[in-house]
């Protein structure tokens, strides 16, 4: 009998505030150990938390953008446990009265649209970082007190693909609204997965395990795959699943249970008496809602309906707002579907590929997108061959070149052979005459041999010919 996966995700996203959630120290990533600290994040005697209002705004618009009901009244609580990277001996978090409730995200993992419910979004402060090296354990409190939102989904996801699709959609939304930088490596967007399995048709939930330490989409996919297979194997063997927290070991490619002692916490949550209930005024909420830009889903459907892109290309372009913005900026006024599609594949294909191989980044070339659009148009119009386009881009992205100059000079010496040049016709005729065997084979039905003739032409012209034109002329000669 078939098995079904049931997955719920808890995403921790770091809010992009200047300062920490409850104190004035910088919330920036990195820095010398213990350089981004203040009395609150050090847990000094008498230090009191004061809520960062910008973090509240960001958490609220994250809720609005994920269709949540933003709560006008929410409460911060203390989550008590001892650890050296938790300076106060408790983490300030929202518990039974979070800032956002009851939202959803629509995703499509290739099997049609699915609505994934979001249980809640709550605000909390991050802990510091412990590291254990020869000679002792070290604590860096730079991250302690950095604002996070935790976004908790219902167990609505049914496959690793859906989990990744949900995470990508959520990540894109948070980046679009400017509250999170989406960086999985630095841990500013991280995820725990609750995974259980059950027989298809079963309505009750199986016993779940929580998987921690997931810091890439690949890892999430692999960990869910491993964990669900482990659970199925165990149940099939007649064993029961124990509810526990498991860590993903990326090197070994498996999950392993945390020591049970680490799981036996009674956090003794109670409302933090240092912080009055968080009240959000209706007019603030209205004003914040007005600042939410076009979200990825809206943008994708506009790209499909207005520009004629296919859904996969729209999804690719809209994963982050910079790419989508760059595309629209480069597209400019001429938005015919043919050009829109061509430019989209140009940006995501040839241009992205050339950029990848160079030392340049998108940021370096953003000022030259108008020129790049011209290059694209020349190529699309057949004035640049594929080979020539590659040469132009390589030259333009060379580390020592001025980007604009390179494009300019590339334009000068493209030297494309014009389509009406009689010399081309002569050359084609000569090549056909010189290869009677290939001609005969072609005419007997081996039409793939057209590539051989094109190759001969291109070799003689060092790639400086319009492949489409050459193709058409050769076809006429061979078929005629």
């Amino acid at each position: 009998m078939a098995w079904e996966l049931v997955i719920g995700l808890e995403v921790h996203a770091q809010l992009r505030t200047e300062s920490k959630l409850f104190g004035p120290a910088s919330a920036a990533f990195g820095g010398a150990p213990n350089s981004h600290v203040d009395a609150v994040s050090l847990g000094l005697p008498g230090a009191l938390p004061v809520l960062n209002k910008e973090a509240v705004r960001m958490a609220a618009i994250a809720g609005l953008a994920t269709n949540c009901e933003v709560q006008r009244h929410s409460v911060f609580a203390r989550k008590n446990y001892f650890y050296p990277d938790l300076p106060k001996g408790y983490q300030i978090s929202q518990f039974d009265k979070p800032i956002c409730l009851a939202g959803h995200l629509d995703i499509d993992a290739g099997e049609g649209p699915r609505r994934i419910r979001i249980t809640r979004i709550h605000m909390e402060e991050d802990a510091g970082k412990s590291s254990h090296r020869a000679g002792g354990s070290y604590v860096d409190l730079n991250r302690a007190g950095v604002p996070l939102i935790e976004i908790v989904s219902e167990p609505d996801l049914r496959s690793a693909d859906e989990a990744v699709a949900y995470l990508k959609e959520l990540r894109a939304i948070l980046i679009y609204i400017g509250v999170n930088d989406g960086n999985l490596e630095e841990g500013s967007f991280r995820c725990d997965a609750n995974v259980s399995v059950r027989r298809v048709g079963q309505t009750t939930l199986g016993t779940r395990c929580e998987i921690k330490n997931l810091n890439s989409f690949r890892g999430i996919r692999d960990a869910i795959g491993y964990e669900s297979a482990r659970q199925i194997r165990q149940i099939t063997a007649g064993e029961t699943i124990i509810q526990q927290t498991r860590l993903w070991d990326v090197d070994k490619g498996r999950t392993a249970a945390m020591r049970s002692k680490e799981q036996a916490h009674d956090y003794r949550y109670f409302p933090d008496p240092d912080l009055p209930p968080l009240l959000i005024a209706a007019e603030d909420l209205t004003a914040w809602a007005a600042t939410i830009p076009e979200l990825p889903a809206q943008r994708r459907s506009r790209f499909v309906s207005d520009l004629g892109l296919d859904t996969e290309m729209a999804r690719l372009l809209c994963e982050d707002p910079e790419t989508a913005d760059r595309y629209e900026r480069t597209l400019g006024q001429d938005q015919s579907p043919e050009r829109a599609r061509s430019l989209a594949s140009f940006l995501t294909g040839r241009l992205a590929g050339a950029l990848n191989k160079s030392e340049r980044s998108w940021a370096d070339i953003d000022t030259a997108m108008t020129q790049l659009a011209e290059v694209h148009d020349q190529w699309r119009d057949g004035k640049l061959s594929n080979k020539m386009l590659t040469d132009v881009l390589v030259a333009a992205f060379a580390a020592d070149a001025s980007f604009a100059d390179a494009l300019e000079s590339a334009r000068d010496h493209t030297g494309l052979i014009e389509q009406d040049d009689g010399a081309l016709d002569d050359m084609l005729a000569a090549i056909i005459a010189a290869n009677p065997g290939q001609v005969a084979a072609y005419r007997s039905g081996k039409h793939k041999l057209i590539g051989f003739f094109v190759g001969q032409v291109m070799r003689q012209l060092q790639g400086k010919a319009n492949a489409k034109v050459v193709n058409a002329k050769l076809k006429a000669l061979l078929d005629g």
Partner: protein, 490 residues
């Protein structure tokens, strides 16, 4: 000389701040061997502050309302550059990196900070006997407790170590020692005074409060420390009253409420003191009202559950990792055993008792029966007081059931000691302002006091009534017991 007289004389140039400071330091020098009220004296710093004031006066520069007035500070409040121990070995050697907000306000007003006063460890006690530096003695009877937890501050004011002090009051910790030592003590409305830089005991109850010899002196101190603070999210921005002017207002027409159930358990002399005060206020034109507080008997258990629960979290930061006491590392230690030994060595028995009970009360399975139920009782006590204060302007009652009791009387019976807070905790639970005012000496020559409770942010009413109560008392002259000890020691 009172605080206000001292400030006026310094402002007028007829008294030098340095002389006033030197006199206070000399008094500490001669008396504190008997009282043990100071845990840190900053003589050099105090003299430097006093000299600066004298120079400002000489130069005709504007000076603050406390310019040159020497005062002391409970060692639960951070004074930048000075030790901050909270009366505990846990914080031995810790030096506060900066001033608490109230200290910054005192400095801006020109006050001279003499040093830090003793307290019950982490403000947990009613007798000042849990202090790591040993008990403080009551200047009116050296075999008596000064009350707690701000016992050092109350004894310092009574003994003339300067002209005032700042204490903190979580369940009576300003008012009870004020009553036992014959000085005035105010517990302000919750949120009226910043808690930033004050070591937390129970955050939803703690307030810094002024202590001084007279009601007017207390008003002067309070005017300086009251007000909103951006570093304390629970501070409030209601308008500040003119507290000194309130001391001059007649009480005629005010309604004074008497809680009859609070008269039952009092020593005869305290009972007499409350009733005499009541009669005197009525004679001055106030009207009387009988008040019921149906849930008052639940205030003490609710208070202790809430305070201990909050304390169990507030004191978690004292783990020996970043500062404070850390036990010597043994080769067999794990993180948990090192934590446990550091905290067992650093905290005294009463603090440990309260942390353990608070942890218990918040634990899964007990939360509803203890912490949550206590919060619901707190609401009932609050509502009782609000109802009462709609029928009267001020509630009159005792501060403590008796005069100061002997040292060691409750050492082995913490529950009996907790019951001494029976009249003070209600104001903390309800967040209301309350004042203890001395009303003369009892049969054994020990100070007696009454307590006044008013509505939220109505400290003006407390000063108005407090001044009227004080007016019909003879000023207490210096405590004879201390004088005798000093004379005997010489």
């Amino acid at each position: 000389m009172t605080l206000i007289e001292c400030a006026s004389a310094i402002a007028a140039g007829s008294l030098s701040a340095l002389d006033a400071t030197n006199a206070a330091l000399a008094r500490i020098e001669s008396a504190d061997v008997h009282l043990n009220a100071m845990v840190h004296v900053d003589a050099a710093g105090a003299r430097a502050q006093a000299t600066a004031v004298d120079e400002a006066v000489a130069a005709g520069q504007p000076i603050g309302p406390l310019a040159g007035v020497p005062i002391t500070i409970k060692d639960l409040i951070a004074v930048g550059g000075q030790p901050l121990t909270a009366g505990s070995n846990m914080l031995a050697g810790y030096v506060a990196p900066r001033d608490a907000s109230v200290i910054a306000r005192l400095r801006a007003a020109g006050a001279v900070l003499l040093g830090k006063t003793s307290l019950d460890e982490f403000a947990m006690g009613s007798t000042n006997e849990t202090a790591a530096t040993g008990p403080v003695r009551n200047p009116w009877g050296l075999d008596r407790v000064p009350g707690g937890s701000s016992g050092g501050s109350a004894a310092a004011v009574a003994a003339g170590y300067g002209y005032g002090s700042l204490g903190t009051d979580t369940g009576g910790s300003v008012r009870l020692p004020a009553a036992f030592c014959g000085v005035v003590g105010l517990k302000p409305t919750y949120g009226r005074v910043s808690r930033s830089g004050v070591v937390a005991y129970a955050s939803s109850l703690d307030q810094v409060g002024p202590m001084a010899a007279t009601v007017r002196d207390t008003a002067r101190l309070f005017s300086v420390i009251a007000g909103p603070c951006a570093a304390d999210a629970t501070s409030r921005s209601e308008p500040i009253g003119d507290y000194e002017a309130a001391c001059e207002l007649p009480v005629a027409g005010l309604r004074v409420g008497l809680v009859h159930s609070w008269l039952a358990g009092l020593s005869p002399e305290v009972h007499r003191a409350v009733m005499t005060t009541y009669d005197a206020l009525l004679a001055a034109g106030a009207t009387g009202a009988a008040i019921e507080l149906p849930h008052a008997h639940l205030a003490v258990p609710a208070y202790y559950l809430i305070a201990m629960s909050e304390a169990s979290a507030n004191l978690a930061r004292y783990d020996g990792v970043r500062y404070g006491h850390r036990a010597e590392l043994h080769s067999s230690d794990t993180l948990d055993t090192l934590y446990a030994r550091s905290r067992a060595e650093g905290f005294g028995p009463e603090v440990q008792r309260r942390i353990v009970m608070g942890t218990w009360a918040l634990s899964s399975g007990y939360y509803d029966a203890y912490y949550d139920r206590a919060c619901r009782v707190r609401r009932l006590v609050h509502d009782d007081l609000q109802t009462a204060l709609s029928a009267c302007d001020v509630i009159l009652g005792p501060t403590a059931p008796s005069a100061a009791w002997p040292l060691g009387a409750h050492t082995h019976d913490p529950i009996a000691a907790y019951q001494m807070d029976i009249y003070t905790t209600a104001a903390n639970l309800a967040g209301l302002p309350a004042m203890s005012v001395p009303v003369g000496l009892g049969d054994e020559g020990l100070p007696l006091a009454v307590q006044l409770i008013a509505g939220s942010f109505k400290e003006t009413t407390l000063f108005q009534v407090g001044a009227a109560v004080e007016q019909r008392q003879e000023r207490l002259s210096g405590p004879a017991a201390l004088q005798a000890a000093i004379a005997g020691g010489q």
